[in-house]
Symmetry: none
């Protein structure tokens, strides 16, 4: 028999509301993440099973995976993994996922996935190490494994040569322009994002806004950046659970040591509602750039091109000077 | 004296690696989220303090907030909130945040924020309830609060009328076109996303890919959708901690009951590295649309416009027919 | 032999940066949460194993738990659970946790915990259902289980009558006093914190308790601290979704090398319910202080000021000496 301590592993977890969509179906992505975690554990364990250079197994490939039946909130996902083939430098792991309704005892196979891992040295991440061979119960198992190995190797080589396609091109590839750093993200509003009324917490919205604005700032100056201030934000429109929100940011103004970024939040109540996409919130965030020692760095000037960009730059300058004047007045008052 | 049980609250939380950027500075967004949570709790508690219709306080406005000093991983964020003014239908909350280095005992004020909340009925979310008045120690406190209230009210009215600007317009607003549903998100790679080698777990990448693909599918058919399968994915390029990754998806093909979505993951090692943005992974996800009873629904046909879109549709059709043929062969084999 | 499909379960998970403190030691609360999840799965599964009214197992009590060795980021936590006794209305679950370094293969026992669950009807949460009896391999197993059952029942009755104490803020406290290190946090109970019955998972509560106790301990000795043990915790009162919970901790006793912290959990069902804030759980946590090399450090003595503080210090000393005596007796027994 095989030593299952080494080459098998099984895991379970209760599915929570945050793992699922509003209809209660667990996201495919949640399941893929569990599958990969099981594969990473078992293959890293195997590759370190013989004394030698310590290594971490890195995912090289996932074979086509079907989602055979839906999994629901409250069910237990049982994930079991087994090493089914080893080549000199790679490990094939078979992962099976079963959903278990612990109230009825009903179990269903939801996925059968095959993953390939490669051991990378912990000391030198560019060095691929050798994989200790596994023992096969029958010679055919090894032969079939070798066939699968050759097939996937071919496919990997092919896709490596396939040319990169681009969906959303960078609007302006010139550094320091508005188009260069502008960024956006989408977020599916989950249950933990919402209050008892079923609307997104203002704090969740602000966190996403800061995330986008921070990326805009970092793209502009390519240094460590931190939030310096947020202008007043008004929350006119509520955002409901199940909406998709698009948070987008663009730089409007730079002073010597700061950047102003305008952020928009648009809500798309795309399921269950006749309403169109609407603007929920907008705000201005100000960032500063810091050196490794935490000292403020000069900020590259924003290059404005269109009339709108120039106008927004002037407006931003107005806000900047106003805030500066206000602060100086406060300091003089405090000094008296 | 005031009854602080009702109108004050204070608490602490340790800042974790995922709350911060790679330089160890806590994200402004993390702090804004804590501030808002404290404000929501204290104002909801206050608005329910007198017998009456139960309600939840919803954030209406945050005043301009400065980040006075950076907060770091391992420090304790001490958040204290106090109700400072009540009008008939709104509550003003003052929230102060202090960072505390529990190893040295050093404390610094990091934020002073002012938030306005409005109580909404739990039964009828469109009904704004009355706020129980607070007691002021001195008459001037009430007068100053009233002044702040009037000022913010004006500003809220103004921004409500300001016209909505758009950053990334929907590429094609015609329903069922490729441009209509295409979507993308950006994600800053945090420490908990990574293996011991400091590279993103494959499972984390796949979860984000499924998230974007699911939004594309839902935008296309505006129903509850679930992942049906994922084609083989090759992970040629590693993604390092601190990168920004852009995950974008576009629909390539629809059959009667399924949608194929192509997803790209691009990594942007924008801090600390000379390397340009690169394509890390791409894959095809297939989704089905489900009715409320969990039955498969017909999928609206994808409208292709450009030559590229038509070519990709045909390629998708090829993959679809090939998979279908393979499955039928397997079923016949199993039946024999 | 026993049918392990039904009465055993095992789970594994990689420890991430967010599961640990800045020294890389996994928080005791993270481990307690995993232990409770395993216990909840296995006992809910068992209680539903015979056709009958569907139910969810709710945590009633956790026996005193020692943290035998620290767990680190990157290690795999292997959690295995087994049902060891059933009374008419309760289930005893034994959960063992092992840390596994998948690079070296080294495994260490980190915890052995005993938990008691009670099955509550899914339809009527106030109805306790009957537990299907398990089969014992030997008669002595049943007798010993019955003895443990009677003992914990007595202890649960006792603590139910214990009076609720309150932690009040102290202005300008002196280092090493009780007031100096006392801490609290508030948490709004979200959907993912809750079981199918809509009540907070015991593990979620314990994780928050450990977080507060850890802050108290770190504030007192300003070093890296780790959880050494948790005294028995009784969960008399359920906490519903939508509640705000306040978790507060104060130091009660210090020995040369350890600190005892009392933690209270108060629930505030502030919306939707006429009920007042109530004490849901309380417990004693013990921490030790570690040097950078992981060696235990001396702990500064707690300065007690009020009569109550002095009394609690003496009570803590009593618990400390009792535990010490018990451990010495066990070691002598083991040595014979």
């Amino acid at each position: 028999g095989r030593d299952c301590e080494l080459s098998c592993a099984s895991f379970g977890r209760i599915m929570r509301p945050d793992d699922a969509n509003i209809a209660g179906n667990v996201h495919g992505g949640t399941i893929l993440k569990m599958i990969e975690e099981a594969g990473a554990i078992i293959s890293t364990r195997h590759c370190n099973s013989q004394a030698g250079e310590p290594c971490v197994a890195a995912l090289a490939r996932v074979e086509r995976t079907d989602f055979l039946s839906p999994m629901c909130i409250g069910e237990v996902a049982n994930v079991s993994a087994e090493i089914t083939y080893t080549s000199r430098h790679s490990v094939e792991v078979q992962v099976n996922v079963m959903s278990e309704n612990i109230l009825t005892g009903a179990k269903k196979v939801t996925n059968k996935a095959t993953l390939w891992y490669v051991p990378l040295s912990l000391k030198n991440v560019n060095k691929v190490l050798e994989v200790p061979p596994i023992q096969y119960a029958r010679k055919e198992q090894e032969d079939e494994g070798k066939k699968r190995y050759e097939e996937q190797k071919l496919d990997r080589l092919e896709t490596k040569q396939r040319n990169g396609d681009v969906i959303l091109p960078v609007i302006n590839p010139e550094p320091h322009t508005v188009g260069y750093s502008q960024s956006s993200l989408i977020h599916l509003v989950g249950p933990s994002d919402c209050t008892l009324l079923g609307f997104v917490h203002g704090g969740v919205t602000m966190k996403l806004m800061d995330e986008v604005a921070g990326i805009v700032a970092a793209r502009h100056c390519k240094t460590n950046i931190v939030t310096a201030s947020v202008d007043a934000i008004n929350f006119h429109e509520k955002i409901k659970k199940g909406c998709v929100i698009t948070v987008s940011g663009r730089m409007t103004f730079t002073s010597n040591k700061s950047m102003e970024i305008e952020v928009f939040v648009d809500a798309d109540p795309f399921v269950d509602e006749p309403r169109e996409r609407y603007r929920a919130v907008s705000a201005f965030f100000t960032y500063v750039s810091l050196s490794k020692e935490g000292k403020p760095l000069p900020v590259p000037q924003l290059l404005t091109e269109t009339e709108d960009e120039k106008r927004r730059f002037e407006e931003g300058k107005g806000r900047y000077l106003q805030t500066k004047a206000k602060r100086q007045a406060q300091m003089q008052q405090a000094a008296q």
